[in-house]
Symmetry: C2
């Protein structure tokens, strides 16, 4: 059986092996990127779903349009406006999670061997998705303020990329946030060289400290940025609802390509998200999630403060992840096996680097585990690291 | 702005122009492929959705696995077994509508310029989807019994296709059903030449007359057929739930590629479909849809019997469509404008042909319109045809 060439570089096997291990009963997992299960407004959504279907079932259960439900598109524009983004209805499309918005960028823009620049490290799911369109991903170095723009410009000149993929706010996996000045500089550089920006912003509302930084898209006056937002982290990932905002010519192509993927995002998911956004409960809900995650983040950071000297880590103002750098001599892949045997899991950092390497890094998620699990799991991680340092 | 080469052949503009016209108020539409809006079990689904979310919200609203929910995969296997198909859990994946299963076949199997053979005419959505992967679609002639297998073998030898795409039961757009003997012969030919079959079977349960014919997949003893089923026509298209059953190596690749499209099909959609299939109501629901559509089909066929001599049409035993062939001298594209002005719409048949041409054909849908609309709309269509015959 002969498969398409585009699959040659997409295996995902390392990560699937990790998640198979993590599924073991009793395992404390800092590996996923899942919201806390207790954070979902199940009762409210049960009520909303039943009401919607009783009032409007014959429309919700029928085929819908590929661009998405008009009322939800308007809601997306209102959210975007709150973030400083001005756009019109023909510049937005509803996607089946931000994941689909990432994949469609590559599908719409990239021919085989085209280059995409991305933070190094970057979101693993995006890497796999880009590879499925035979794009090449080249990493751009980061510092504490995110992607280094001088390094970016050098790589733009060298690789003539189709677009720059960035998660400027509470980046996955590093937790870092790019300050406003650098966002401006990044956009200037990309505009000067005629390179599009794919700005992925799923964590924006999950801020626990510091002041909000407007998205790069808010600085965009000529359709240079494709902006992806998601309802996964503030309402539910299981509903699979996100949106893309971009130049209308790009949205038109997204629309054409989405038709052949899933025709449209499930109407019920779209209607639930829209109704919940207008239920008067979303602000309180986000506050409550943030309060919970802030405590968890602080608990994990407190634990990390007790780790051996030489273990460095980021102190994110929001999002779901802390990025840990072990002493150069240590290997987070080797450590991973020992940790799993001892009952705690993370994702080895090397998988997030387009070029691999960096085996002394790892990603910790603090949203999914309980405070007790964070306490216990971090003790285990610490003792495994200490043992390996001796 | 420079888009990927794969978009060069995917415009969908002709069809979008048609559907824009159809959206006009008061238009009687025989153009879509939508279930009747009154056929949806909205109240039952409202109850099911609320119950599911109350009992199991923290799982349903969380991320799910790409292959789909285990209980629904089992339900799919039970449905398949009733159709004579034997498969195991690792040979099934839940898709976001059968559309995703069609697109993933091309994504997983086709390199640019690879050939796919398909009935001529065939499902327009599949054509657009295949073109997005730069596959070439070559049409195979049909007769009243569906794809002509001798013509198929000749084209297999000439084009060495990656797979043969077929809708053997109540085909879209022709309404034709392939008899058992020809299904056996088709599979034999494909096996002999090492060509896979993509069997799309969304209309299977919508039979109004004649005896069921088992799917080609039921004859498949070595993973030669990718079988697609859908819940769109028997429960709801708006929920976007279908499934693919195939050799587990193919399902594995579907899984990898689906990850980068939508990560997984919305959990709530999957759970609703699964619960409704086990609610004890599905059999009665399908019987009621079939009774309704049978009356509508018969009403449309009765009207067609009064059309001028020289207008030929299929008499489908099920599904949603009747295929009309006008006298050679007539053009269904020209007629379309006159019909729309007079308040009735269909899809000109030429759009369903991979090679175009056949301007004297058109597709009629009988599920969506009411009996009154069928009565009135068919009278309009008849008078427009008569006027053009003079």
């Amino acid at each position: 059986m002969e498969f398409a060439k585009r699959l040659d570089n997409v295996t995902g096997s390392a990560i699937r092996a990790i998640f198979a291990l993590i599924g073991q009963p009793g395992m404390i997992s800092f590996a996923g990127g899942n919201p806390a299960p207790e954070s979902f407004p199940s009762e409210d959504i049960a009520q909303i779903a039943a009401d919607l279907l009783r009032k409007n079932g014959s429309t919700i259960l029928q085929y819908g349009g590929t661009p998405g439900i008009g009322s939800l598109k308007n809601t997306v524009l209102e959210m975007a406006a709150q973030r400083g983004i001005r756009a019109s209805l023909d510049e937005v499309i509803i996607t089946s999670g931000a994941t689909q918005g990432i994949g469609l960028a590559a599908k719409v823009l990239c021919n085989p061997d085209d280059v995409i620049l991305a933070e190094s490290p970057t979101f693993l799911g995006a890497l796999q998705t880009f590879y499925a369109y035979e794009a090449k991903v080249v990493g751009v170095d980061m510092d504490e303020d995110g992607m280094v723009v001088d390094a970016l410009e050098e790589k733009i000149i060298r690789h003539r990329p189709k677009f720059v993929y960035t998660i400027p706010t509470f980046q996955n996996p590093s937790g870092r946030t790019m300050p406003m000045k650098r966002r401006q500089k990044l956009l200037e550089v990309c505009k000067r060289h005629g390179v599009l920006v794919l700005e992925d912003d799923p964590y924006c509302d999950l801020r626990y400290s510091g002041d909000p930084v407007p998205p790069i898209k808010s600085l965009d006056d000529n359709g240079h940025v494709i902006y992806l937002l998601s309802f996964s982290k503030i309402i539910s990932p299981g509903l699979r609802v996100g949106a893309a905002i971009a130049d209308k010519r790009i949205i038109e192509k997204y629309n054409i390509c989405k038709q052949g993927e899933d025709l449209h995002t499930a109407n019920l998911s779209q209607e639930i998200v829209n109704a919940y956004m207008h239920s008067g409960k979303i602000e309180g809900h986000i506050q409550s999630i943030c309060a919970d995650y802030r405590i968890k983040r602080d608990a994990m950071l407190d634990k990390l403060a007790e780790f051996p000297k030489g273990v460095r880590y980021t102190r994110p103002d929001g999002g779901l992840f802390i990025w840990v750098t072990l002493p150069e001599s240590m290997n987070a892949l080797t450590l991973f096996k020992q940790c799993v045997d001892a009952g705690v899991a993370y994702v080895p950092g090397t998988h997030f680097y387009p070029e691999g390497g960096h085996e002394n890094t790892l990603r910790l998620n603090f949203s999914m585990a309980s405070l007790e699990q964070i306490d216990k799991g971090m003790d285990i991680l610490k003792s495994v690291i200490e043992k390996n340092l001796q």
